[in-house]
């Protein structure tokens, strides 16, 4: 036993040493690439791991750490990140950092009115190196040498002439045909040749021109000067902006404080969308829970009745909607409710000779969604109620019967109050779940029909979470990641409030405070 323990210890330390070796190698390569954040995460993680494996005091952490790593990386960190993004203007047009925008602007050039142009021949050697010979209008010629231009005498015998008198090769370089030039355009466009203080760059496919730098970053003023016009653009609200309000695209990320949250409250367009979506989200959750609870309770009551035969058989069949994966049910129902093709409209058509525009009309789309979600949810309510009904002691009913209470009275005075105690927390839980039931909404209507004139991409059946998804990933007005994150946090606050209420019904919190 002792021998095995020593071996086990040895294996453990050996593995740790190996892992640490790998970490050191990875950390150095990250440092060399100047990726400081991943480097910090990696080193911190490695130190923690060594501490946990080597220290006796950290023994419980050996059990907790593997799960905590995933919890932190995929839940806690994303929560923090979401809060952070919700305080920024991150959106299409403001996705880059200021440093990236400055670097991009400083790489822009313009052709001044009095620029010179050169025709050119492009050459490549077997190593793939690209060089050009430029011919000025006055007959002078230049050869590119790394990123400069040097005057060159083309009568030098190193330049091999072709039949038409043009240079076709020199040293180990051979001339590119036009077809090859088209293929090499990206590389040609990257050429930036300094000559007499100006930048010589490709202007058209056939010509190089003398360019000047367009923008200069003024570090002290935190501003961009347009070297062509002399206008100074100062950094304002995520854009470099001129005194008369002209912005340079692209903008950059900045912290905007609570502006995204205030937009939800105060910006008329966003607030109107939020209010409408929020109202429907609450209605959708409430109506789903309300109807599915009553359907479930009635069925539970029937299936609990000893005078009904075949109860277990019915129960297994009635539970099927709950056992089906929800995404499959949602897609199937979307087909059944299809306005032109669906069987539901076929039945309605045969009975009433009309068609209901299920997924195009806001009211009917919402009706269909609730109908579908009740179908998905009632079995849960049925099971829960069945369990609760069976746990009510029979003696209570006996006593009531002796007192002469009718069946109806017994239901309202004994069954319901007792049932309520055990079912209420589950109803609240179900409400919170439905509140964020993205899958059903998305797979049945995808939030449609669209609402005309909405300020944000919020459809008539969008709930808060699907609205968030659209803001972030598919708006025709670009990806509004900052606003989407703010809405996410608002949803979380709502859900947290609901859960806090629910804790009063369950003993979860007391368990913690008692420290069991």
């Amino acid at each position: 036993m002792a021998g095995r323990a020593v071996v086990a210890q040895g294996v453990k330390l050996g593995l740790l040493a190996l892992l640490d070796g790998g970490v050191v190698w990875a950390a150095i390569s990250l440092l060399l690439r100047a990726d400081y954040i991943p480097f910090a995460i990696l080193t911190a993680g490695a130190f923690l791991l060594n501490y946990v494996v080597l220290s006796r005091r950290a023994y419980p952490l050996r059990f907790l750490l593997p799960g905590l790593v995933f919890l932190f990386a995929m839940v806690v960190y994303p929560i923090g990140y979401t809060i952070n993004v919700s305080l920024t203007n991150l959106q299409t047009g403001n996705l880059l950092t200021k440093a990236q925008v400055v670097a991009q602007l400083e790489g822009r050039y313009y052709l001044p009115p009095d620029h010179e142009t050169f025709t050119y021949w492009a050459f490549r050697n077997p190593q793939g190196e690209l060089r050009v010979i430029l011919l000025a209008e006055d007959g002078r010629s230049y050869l590119s040498e790394r990123n400069t231009l040097l005057p060159v005498d083309l009568t030098d015998p190193r330049f091999v002439r072709g039949a038409d008198g043009t240079v076709v090769a020199f040293d180990d370089f051979t001339r590119l045909s036009w077809a090859q030039i088209y293929q090499s355009l990206p590389a040609l466009e990257r050429l930036d040749l300094m000559w007499e203080g100006v930048h010589v760059r490709l202007a058209t496919v056939r010509e190089f021109g003398t360019y000047l730098r367009k923008y200069e970053y003024l570090r002290d003023a935190d501003a961009i000067r347009d070297l062509e016009t002399g206008i100074v653009y100062t950094a304002r609200e995520g854009y470099f902006t001129s005194p008369d309000g002209v912005r340079i695209e692209p903008g950059f990320q900045i912290y905007v404080g609570f502006r995204n949250y205030l937009d939800v409250l105060r910006n008329p367009g966003v607030r109107a969308d939020f209010t409408r979506v929020f109202g429907w989200t609450v209605a959708w959750s409430f109506l789903t829970v309300f109807f599915s609870f009553w359907v479930g309770l009635v069925l539970a009551y029937l299936l609990n009745d000893p005078y009904v035969r075949g109860r277990f058989f019915y129960r297994s069949l009635l539970i099927i909607p709950y056992a089906m994966p929800a995404f499959i049910s949602a897609l199937v129902w979307a087909g059944l409710f299809n306005t032109d093709l669906g069987v539901i409209n076929r039945i309605i058509g045969e009975l009433f000779g009309t068609k209901v525009r299920w997924l195009q009309d806001p009211f009917w789309a919402r009706t269909a969604l609730i109908f579908i979600n009740v179908w998905l949810t009632y079995p849960y309510m049925m099971i829960v109620s069945l369990g609760a009904l069976q746990s009510i002691p029979k003696e209570m009913y006996e006593a009531a019967r002796v007192d002469g209470a009718t069946g109806w009275q017994r239901f309202w005075t004994i069954t319901m109050p007792l049932l309520w105690v055990s079912v209420a927390p589950l109803l609240i839980g179900s409400f919170a779940f439905t509140f964020n039931n993205f899958t059903i909404i998305w797979l049945v209507t995808a939030g449609r029909p669209a609402v005309l004139g909405a300020a944000t991409p919020a459809g008539a059946t969008d709930i808060l979470i699907s609205w968030t998804y659209r803001l972030a990933f598919e708006g025709d007005r670009g990806n509004q990641l900052g606003l989407a994150s703010a809405v996410s946090i608002i949803i979380f606050v709502i859900i947290a409030t609901i859960s806090a209420v629910n804790f009063r019904f369950t003993r979860a919190l007391e368990d913690v405070s008692r420290g069991v």
């Binding site: 589950l426 797979l443 998804y469 913690v512």
Partner: protein, 285 residues
């Protein structure tokens, strides 16, 4: 609670149950029929097909434009790996919370309770950006990879399941491990050899529920996977039937039936176990 019903009362009861059965089973029967119906068009379907055929099922497994077997394999792989790792990691964590007394234990429990309230998909923007970033450093673990998706699912599964398992471990008396500890076993050995076998029911519940949950997950998979070869069944089926109810209804129905059967085959025989887990033990069955 119940008294002998009158004839009218019985008729009312059976009518209600009959109506509920139609409500419950109609969509299921309808796609079952569609899957055997020779036409692929929703409109031409009838409840009892004239010339029933297995053509749609055959097509699912032979038509290369319908990567159904790939989607099923992807889903089983992702759900299987996620649920097995979840069970193991959560059991480890739950055991520590249940058996050890250490500094930060109470804060840890409270933190777990708070974190599991946060629906992971609320952070979808952050998770999306995070996985894109991870891809730059570890390509096989980042955006559009199954290991990446599994990692995201694992994170989301930790909070509730650890909490849930801890409750069960608390009901296993300590005395069962104590003799082993006295004999010189490490707590880890006691956990693995003694507590884990005793906790088999809860391990099974978490395994099955996690499997079903992952199998049915749509949002995160749709954000994090690109390209039909990578899709899980939920993303693939949506992609397959979207805007194509008039052309692919038969094949879709067959796929839906097979996809649902897999879960029904697990759910129905084990429903008592699963339901006790889903209601968090709040309701006795």
């Amino acid at each position: 609670m119940y008294s002998r019903p009158t004839v009218v009362g019985l008729v009312v009861r059976y009518t209600l149950i009959g109506t509920a059965l139609i409500y419950a089973l109609f969509p299921v029967l309808w796609i079952l029929s569609a899957s055997f119906n020779p036409t692929n068009n929703l409109l031409e379907q009838r409840l009892f097909p004239r010339n029933p055929t297995l053509e749609h099922y055959r097509r699912l497994f032979t038509d290369p434009t319908v990567p159904f077997p790939r989607w099923i394999l992807n889903t089983l792989q992702v759900s299987g790996i996620t649920s097995v790792i979840t069970v193991f990691l959560c059991a480890l964590g739950a055991y520590a919370f249940s058996r050890f007394r250490f500094r930060g234990r109470r804060a840890g429990l409270l933190g777990l309770l708070l974190v599991q309230m946060f629906p992971q998909m609320l952070a979808m923007v952050a998770i999306y950006l995070l996985l894109i970033r991870i891809k730059e450093f570890v390509p096989w673990l980042g955006y559009n990879t199954h290991p990446g998706l599994i990692m995201v699912y694992l994170g989301g599964a930790m909070g509730f399941n650890t909490w849930f398992m801890k409750g069960y471990f608390d009901t296993i008396p300590r005395s069962v491990e104590e003799s082993a500890l006295v004999d010189g076993a490490t707590p880890f050995q006691a956990f693995l050899r003694i507590v884990m076998p005793l906790a088999r029911p809860i391990l099974a519940v978490v395994l099955i529920i996690q499997f079903i949950t992952t199998y049915s997950e749509y949002v995160l998979a749709s954000i994090l996977l690109k390209g039909t070869e990578m899709y899980t069944l939920s993303v693939g089926l949506r992609f397959f039937i979207q805007q194509a109810y008039d052309r692919r209804w038969g094949a879709f129905s067959a796929a839906a039936i097979l996809g649902a059967l897999l879960i029904l085959a697990i759910f129905l025989p084990l429903q008592k176990l699963i339901i006790s887990g889903l209601t968090g033990g709040a309701v006795k069955e």
